[in-house]
């Protein structure tokens, strides 16, 4: 609801003594503005974000709702609600939302959950600024059809998911393989390494080769402290 009648937050304008300013010929002093709150952005209107829920994430969302809700509402100071009819999660800024980016972060967080990431992993998005989610498809890398595609997917995950976990642990990323779509969550550099490994797997290199490369990379990453 719009807040009417509320005076805009302190807009201090320094009082200019008329005689002095004009007479001296100097420029008028710069007005000082405090940064806008999220709430006041777009001329004081509330900002919204909507995140649609895919059907396969519906029940996991229900299970993990409180885990999602609590940090958003309490720490991010963003209002969140589930639109059951529209199958959407809606986010809205509050008056005391401290930062503009909070809303976007929360939206990203919810979106990551919808892609398939765990809440504990997606929470990192809220906590760290420099994390991103990158998505690409197998057909972007190589056109595979039928069994080749299935085999590629199998190669990517490995037996019991060990290849995927190996990549995750080595590069400090989280990977979601959803049929032909691949999502990677992590920092920019780590995403790149993970992507390279996955691409090489798609293109057909054996897991052992990818492991050896990962080992080198991990060692190098660990050294850079």
């Amino acid at each position: 609801m719009m807040q009417t009648g509320e005076a805009p937050a302190s807009m201090e304008v320094e009082a200019i003594p008329n005689g002095l300013g004009i007479q001296s010929g100097s420029l008028p002093l710069k007005p000082k503005f405090e940064p806008l709150k999220a709430h006041e952005m777009s001329d004081g209107r509330v900002q919204f974000r909507n995140v649609s829920v895919p059907p396969h994430r519906y029940s996991p969302l229900k299970k993990a709702w409180m885990e999602i809700y609590t940090p958003i509402y309490e720490q991010m100071k963003v209002d969140i609600r589930m639109n059951l009819k529209g199958r959407k999660v809606e986010l809205k800024t509050r008056s005391d939302t401290p930062d503009v980016s909070n809303l976007q972060k929360c939206a990203d967080f919810v979106h990551a959950f919808m892609l398939g990431f765990d809440v504990v992993d997606a929470i990192a998005l809220l906590r760290l600024d420099e994390l991103f989610v990158e998505s690409f498809e197998i057909k972007d890398v190589k056109t595979l059809r039928g069994e080749h595609l299935s085999r590629a997917i199998g190669r990517l995950s490995g037996k019991g998911g060990k290849t995927k976990f190996a990549i995750e642990n080595a590069t400090k990323t989280r990977i979601v393989i959803a049929d032909t779509k691949i999502h990677i969550l992590g920092s920019f550099q780590n995403i790149k390494i993970g992507r390279d490994s996955l691409c090489s797997l798609i293109l057909g290199s054996p897991a052992g080769k990818v492991y050896s490369k990962l080992r080198q990379v991990a060692a190098r990453l660990a050294e850079t402290f």
Binding site: A124, K162, N169, G186
Partner: protein, 546 residues
């Protein structure tokens, strides 16, 4: 007097033919023939003798002594010259042959005349030669020989037989190499040339040559010939004073062309002559000869310089640019960069074998010792790829990373450290057990300070699964349970004053709590008021509790 028309030659022949015993007895006819013969001889010799005062031997009315004197005047200078010529010929015997050969071409006609002259002259020469071998005793010998000669020739002039005898004796010396006649011819010519006489033009070439050669010979034997010259000077007559130009050609005269052909023939003297060059009639001085020698050498060297060098003097010479097999003749010297292979002798092998045996006895084989390489750096921790799902969330992972970055000390222990700890604990336990087994003395168990929270739960409940009996005994000791301090007194023990003190304390405490409660309530009420719009609820003063 018997035969005035008799010619000299006939007189000589006549003398020859007479018997020697007939000569012993004085006979006027023989003496007359002798005189004519000697006259003839004299006139024959006259051309050779330089500056003789008499044109003819005067025999009429002169006795033997006077005739002899005339002959002596003529012959003395002749003798000296002849001596010299003979010496020269000694040194250059080939010349005589050549000269004489050449002479034969010209002198066939006069040979007979000359023969006899030469025989006579050679007699003198022979005498001279026999007596002139020693140069040092020249003076004495000359005197002696002259004296001897005089005596002999005195005899001869009287008898005129000595000459014949000597002439005959002279013939004995001749052999196939030494032709006396040729020698005498040569000597005549040379002599004539030497004294500057141009009498024998027909032998012009030879004369000059011989004269020059003689001059050179003279100069070569300067020291030796000095005596000769002096003696010659001494013994020469006043008319025949030798002049400088006789011995050393004063002016350089041009040589007739015929000379050159002959000069080539005479090789022996070419060392001193220039080859085909100008030869002076007057002869060369020592200095000039040296200069000529130098000149010839210089010319030779210049010629050599102009020509291309021999292949040994050139720089890099290939096989094609030098004559065939020429390298074989030259003694080449080059460096051997390779050490020559050692010649294996029995000694060497024996020494090596001895060394081997000794080493075996000692057991000192130079085996290579393996160098143990110590690791310079600590072995890197190989990060193991974990293939299980990570238990930590991504956020926690980044959190740990951040902590490690900022505050390494507070970072949680890594997995490897935990494992290390566990391993070390296990090992210590094992060691403890083994030590207890092996050592004779007893060592108590080490106390490991470990903090743990113990719940105050009945001990038996924790220890026993099935509690057979229930015990009131608690896990904690009474003093651990008791939470008080100071001196504890029962109700009966407490004195009046104590009781009062306790009550006062209690009251004070209660009051403090009450006040606190009141203030808290007031705060809540005001908050509510603020929160609810337009809801002004008055806080009851005093509160419910006082």
């Amino acid at each position: 007097m018997a035969k005035p028309s008799e010619t000299g030659m006939e007189a000589l022949h006549h003398l020859k033919s007479t018997d020697p015993p007939a000569l012993l007895a004085p006979s006027p006819t023989l003496s007359q023939t002798a005189r004519t013969a000697s006259q003839h001889l004299f006139s024959c010799l006259k051309p050779y003798a330089p500056k003789s005062p008499f044109d003819q031997l005067l025999t009429d009315g002169f006795d033997a002594e006077q005739i002899w004197q005339q002959i002596d005047l003529l012959s003395q200078p002749l003798l000296s010259t002849l001596r010299r010529q003979v010496k020269h010929l000694e040194k250059h015997p080939e010349e005589s042959k050549i000269v004489l050969k050449k002479e034969n071409e010209f002198l066939d006609g006069e040979r007979k005349i000359l023969e006899e002259k030469e025989t006579k002259r050679f007699d003198d020469d022979v005498d001279d030669d026999d007596m002139d071998m020693d140069m040092d005793e020249f003076d004495d010998e000359e005197e002696e020989e002259e004296g001897g000669r005089r005596e002999s020739e005195k005899g001869e002039s009287e008898d005129e037989s000595g000459e014949m005898v000597e002439g005959k004796g002279g013939e004995g010396i001749e052999d196939k190499f030494l032709k006396i006649k040729e020698l005498e011819e040569y000597l005549e010519e040379d002599e004539a040339r030497e004294y500057g006489l141009d009498r024998k033009k027909k032998k012009g070439e030879l004369k000059l040559e011989e004269e020059e050669e003689e001059e050179e010979e003279e100069e070569d034997e300067e020291e030796e010939d000095d005596d000769d010259d002096e003696l010659d000077d001494e013994y020469e007559d006043a008319e025949e004073n030798a002049r400088y130009e006789d011995f050393f050609g004063a002016k350089k005269k041009t040589v007739p062309k015929r000379k050159s052909s002959l000069s080539n023939g005479s090789d022996e003297d070419s060392g001193l002559n220039d080859d085909g060059a100008v030869e002076k009639k007057g002869g060369l001085s020592t200095h000039e000869k040296q200069l000529e020698k130098l000149q010839s050498e210089i010319e030779q060297m210049e010629k050599a310089n102009l020509e291309p060098k021999t292949w040994t003097m050139r720089g890099e010479v290939t096989a094609a640019s030098r004559p065939k097999n020429s390298a074989l003749e030259v003694d080449l010297d080059f460096e051997h960069n390779v050490r020559p292979a050692p010649v294996i002798t029995e000694e060497i092998t024996a020494s090596i074998e001895d060394m081997i045996k000794q080493r075996i006895i000692e057991g000192r084989f130079d085996d290579i010792q393996k160098v143990s390489s110590l690791p310079s750096t600590a072995p890197k921790e190989v990060k193991q790829l974990d293939e299980n799902k990570s238990k930590k969330g991504l956020a926690e992972v980044y959190e740990e990373e951040y902590i490690q970055k900022t505050n390494p000390a507070a970072a949680p222990i890594s997995f490897s450290d935990e494992q290390k700890k566990e391993a070390s604990i296990l090992f210590k336990k094992l060691c403890l057990k083994l030590d207890a087994l092996s050592h004779f003395h007893f060592a108590p168990k080490p106390v490991i300070e470990d903090m743990s929270i113990q719940a105050n739960v009945p001990a038996l409940a924790m220890e026993e699964i099935a509690p057979t009996a229930v015990s009131d005994a608690a896990m904690l000791a009474p003093e651990e349970v008791f939470s008080g301090k100071g001196d504890i007194k029962e109700e009966a023990e407490v004195t009046q004053a104590e009781r009062k003190r306790r009550r006062a304390k209690k009251k004070r405490k209660f009051k403090a709590e009450a006040v606190k409660r009141m203030t808290k309530k007031a705060r809540d009420n005001t908050a509510l008021l603020n929160h609810n719009e337009g809801n002004h609820l008055s806080v009851p003063n005093g509160g419910l509790f006082s």
